[in-house]
């Protein structure tokens, strides 16, 4: 089983890297971009076939290591 984790900065937390990417896009002439937020994508290969158990475990991984919940939100997708 695969788990895909997206880690993004919480709303209200400034994202200087996203801002820099936004400026660079504007510099390239992409005027239709209102905002850019940069995050991380983490793909995990998991043992087992129990989706509920896997999700609970990946959630624990996010809370303990993959995300810093002071500044980041995460979402989990199993496939």
């Amino acid at each position: 089983m695969k788990a895909r984790v997206h880690v993004t900065l919480k709303n209200g937390v400034l994202d200087p890297q996203g801002k820099a990417v936004h400026h660079a896009l504007q510099g390239l002439g992409f005027d239709g971009v209102n905002d850019v937020r940069q995050g991380k994508f983490i793909e995990l290969e998991l043992d087992g076939t129990d989706a509920a158990k896997a999700e609970a475990e990946v959630k624990e991984m996010c809370e303990k290591l993959l995300a810093n919940t002071v500044i980041e939100d995460y979402s989990i997708e199993l496939a």
Binding site: V13, L14, P16, Q17, A20, K64, L65, L66, N68, V70, I71
Partner: protein, 229 residues
Amino acid sequence: MKSAVILFPGINRENDAIAALKQATGTEPTLVWHGDTELPKTDIIMVPGGFSYGDYLRCGAMAAKSPIMRAVAERAKQGVTTIGVCNGFQILTEAGLLPGALMRNASLKFICKNTHLKVENAETRFTNLYSAGEIVEYPVAHHDGNYFADSDTLDRLEGEGRVVLRYCDVDGKVDPATNLNGSQRNIAGIINEAGNVLGMMPHPENAIDPLHGGTDGRNLFKSMVEAAS
């Protein structure tokens, strides 16, 4: 007076930390490897600066979960004087020993220069040889020193006198123009609720010898030693 310096792969300021602690305590600090599970008996623990684990995932995230950090957290909870500088500050926040997080500098640039700091609280075990409001000069060298915490946490830190150092100019002016890296409320260093754990981005250990260009950092180490003896 015993002190210990924690060493993670990718740390590069351990010798500076050792020099500063040796100068202040008169004895050689013990270097403790990240894979160890036990700390020797010690009065001071220092988590030095550098780039532990190559700053993978987030600065300090991997180091915070290494075996030795469980022992550090335990000692810190028992009240042992613990200081984290630069990457050490990032590690202590990631380990949950200090609130908040250190984000990429607002300028996105790595900042390596001397900076002025205002000693906001001179009644901590780290700053009691300074006077309140004193302006000191320490070097900084970091890419991710932009302190963030939610406004409730910031208000609590301010209300409890836990903001110890703030970025300012030579005259002590604290405003957005003198905010080195975009930190909330110009915060450069904070202590935990019990007052025995300090995290700071600037490097006092690199301001202890006239050859460094200044010795403003000496009193921070001397304060710790006096408080611990």
